[in-house]
């Protein structure tokens, strides 16, 4: 087992997380590679009762923070965070969603995790992303029916500097919010 690492400054993890195999191996997951360990982890996650979610959430976050976490590993871990994640996951995910390369994986969890913290992380990332990634981000905001995003979406819809995909997605997102 490697040394535990905090996830972007979350001291919470240092207290509770473990990254033993097969967890650690999830950070090394490769497309097409053996994923038996990931199946084991997935089973552990889905069978964890709600009172224990915080512990398993911490394990996921600790694994996600391991150096060299692969793209496939990140995607898998974010998918499991969608099942048990809480506001505790938001700082780590907020950092990932601001980067084009990792935004999709982060949204896999942020779009699903309940609470205002996740909504705020998605809204805040609007300033960091552009083009297609921004359109996807708007989709996540709309899926959460985040009415606090209305002013930002309205500005994007009418901003000629934004590409069409962003303006159009913002317009449709506003319609979603208007009818929800």
């Amino acid at each position: 087992m490697g040394p535990e690492r905090s996830v972007r400054g979350s001291s919470y993890l240092n207290r509770t997380a473990e990254t033993t195999a097969p967890w650690k191996l999830c950070a090394e997951l490769e497309y097409g590679g053996d994923r038996t360990f990931a199946s084991t982890v997935e089973q552990e996650v889905v069978q964890t009762p709600p009172p224990e979610w915080a512990k398993v959430e911490a394990k996921i976050l600790a694994t996600l923070a391991l150096p060299g976490c692969t793209e496939a590993g990140r995607a898998f871990l974010c998918k499991t965070l969608a099942l048990v994640g809480s506001a505790r996951s938001v700082p780590a995910l907020a950092a990932l969603v601001r980067e084009t390369k990792t935004a999709d994986a982060a949204r896999t969890a942020l779009e699903i995790i309940p609470g205002p913290e996740a909504s705020a992380a998605l809204r805040d990332a609007l300033a960091s992303l552009g083009g297609k990634a921004k359109a996807g981000l708007i989709g996540s905001i709309a899926a959460r029916r985040d009415s606090a995003a209305r002013p930002a979406l309205a500005a994007l819809k009418d901003n000629p500097a934004e590409p069409a995909v962003v303006r159009e997605t913002a317009a449709r997102a506003l319609q979603c919010l208007a009818t929800s």
Partner: protein
């Protein structure tokens, strides 16, 4: 073409009665029952645009199933004209377009790489969608917003949230949506449903659905491969999570990869569970409890279960089982057990505990009547002409697909779940509720 722009109809001011093509289609569907009217009307009736009375169609997805649809649609030369075919695989779309043009003896059909371009054609009435499941909702919603009626392959959508969104859009834009659950247009299933609902089996005790398992094992690992020339892999993936291309992870096999579909639970379950929903008069509702177990491959490309064992329970206490049966091969069956015995109906065979039950089932004049359709395509075309709901309407489709999807979620979680079919949410299981939707890969969004 029926409709040109949102909320409008094509009016022809040069004609004495300002006859629109939509109005004509509505009228002609009534008239043709009594008159052998010519299919192509003189252009003077419509003014300069001289539209045909044929339904103009576009096809999204020209793979195995799409080609099967094409085989049939090309036989409807007097009814249908296919003007465009879309596929992200260049060879498939060009082959299909060439075939259509050859059959028609024209060059009217155009190939498209992007479904949105096809949907925006103002001279197309209806779109047939037979893409991988992860694309269904976005293909369909875009078509609906472009005022197209749609025939969509089963399962309706990949997720419960997508299904509800699609129903909402179909109703908002007043579009005809026919789901590819064609068993609703087979007489034997219609007879079965009326017989069961009329109490022909006595008190209904339970329903057993047997579906085949055809996941092929392609190894515990796989190798990313170069994307074949002419295939737009990014567009094939669309809203589903990115992964590298590999031969077995594309086209037909998408249904065994959880990122793209839900395996045989939705692929084959969409047919036989649909019969249960219909017989139980649950077309606007569903079960209240689901428990499932599945054998999920622990490694390899395919991630949907190879063996399925799911129990749905309805509010009236009737359970519906859906199980993998290696003996049924491709012929799914729905077996209904009642006080008087059982009836087992598949699309290529039927049997009963007593032959008398089969005879009674096929007899006319049952007490309870349900809408009937003799042919799934004809029913779709008639619904387009009359602006009525088809036999496998979108709400019905969403409800059946939801049954499949809650079964899949129950298997994934391996525990009994309570389902509220009114609120469309699980009761007391937060994790299950989180699986009702899936975030989409950028730039795609369910908005």
């Amino acid at each position: 073409m029926i409709n040109q722009s949102p909320g409008s109809e094509i009016t022809m001011p040069s004609t004495p009665s300002a006859l629109t093509r939509r109005k004509f289609l509505q009228r002609s569907s009534i008239a043709t029952a009594a008159l052998a009217a010519p299919n192509v009307l003189p252009s003077r009736l419509f003014g300069q645009s001289a539209p045909s009375n044929r339904i103009t169609m576009g096809l999204i997805g020209a793979g195995n199933i799409g080609t099967a649809h094409l085989d049939t649609l090309l036989g409807y030369k007097d009814t249908v004209r296919i003007l465009g075919v879309c596929d992200v695989d260049r060879e498939r779309r060009e082959t299909a377009a060439e075939r259509i043009n050859r059959e028609y003896g024209s060059n009217d059909c155009r190939p498209y790489a992007d479904f949105r371009e096809l949907n925006r054609r103002s001279d197309i009435d209806a779109i047939l969608i037979c893409t991988p499941d992860h694309w269904h909702a976005l293909n369909a919603i875009d078509a609906i917003r472009n005022r197209k009626d749609i025939y969509i392959e089963k399962p309706l959508t990949l997720t419960i949230a997508e299904g509800r969104a699609l129903v909402r859009e179909a109703r908002k834009y007043d579009r005809v949506v026919q789901h590819g659950t064609w068993q609703r247009s087979m007489k034997r299933f219609h007879d079965l449903v009326e017989f069961v609902r009329s109490g022909g089996l006595g008190k209904l005790e339970y329903i057993e659905c047997a579906i085949g398992a055809n996941n092929r094992h392609v190894g515990a690992t796989w190798q990313p491969e170069p994307v074949p020339e002419g295939l737009d892999w990014d567009m094939w993936l669309g809203p589903s999570p990115w992964r590298p291309y590999t031969f077995f992870g594309c086209h037909y096999n998408f249904r065994f990869i959880a990122a793209n579909a839900s395996g045989q639970m939705t692929n084959l379950g969409a047919h036989c569970l649909d019969m249960g929903q219909w017989a139980l008069a649950m077309d606007n509702s569903g079960p209240v409890e689901v428990e499932g177990h599945g054998d999920f491959p622990t490694s390899g490309l395919f991630t949907t279960p190879t063996r399925i064992d799911v129990t749905f329970r309805y509010a009236n206490g009737v359970p519906m089982y859906c199980r993998t049966d290696l003996n049924v091969s491709g012929n799914n069956t729905s077996r209904f057990y009642g006080e008087r015995g059982w009836l087992d109906i598949g699309y290529s065979k039927m049997s009963a505990s007593d032959p008398k039950l089969l005879r009674e089932m096929q007899a006319p004049n049952k007490q309870v009547k349900v809408p009937s359709s003799k042919n799934h395509y004809d029913n779709f075309f008639e619904a387009i002409r009359t602006r009525t709901r088809p036999i496998a309407d979108v709400e019905t489709a969403h409800r059946t697909t939801t049954v499949c999807n809650i079964g899949q979620i129950a298997m994934a979680l391996g525990r009994k779940l309570r389902w509220d079919p009114v609120k469309e949410e699980f009761v007391g299981d937060e994790m299950a509720n989180r699986l009702r939707s899936r975030p989409m890969r950028a730039p795609w969004a369910l908005v």
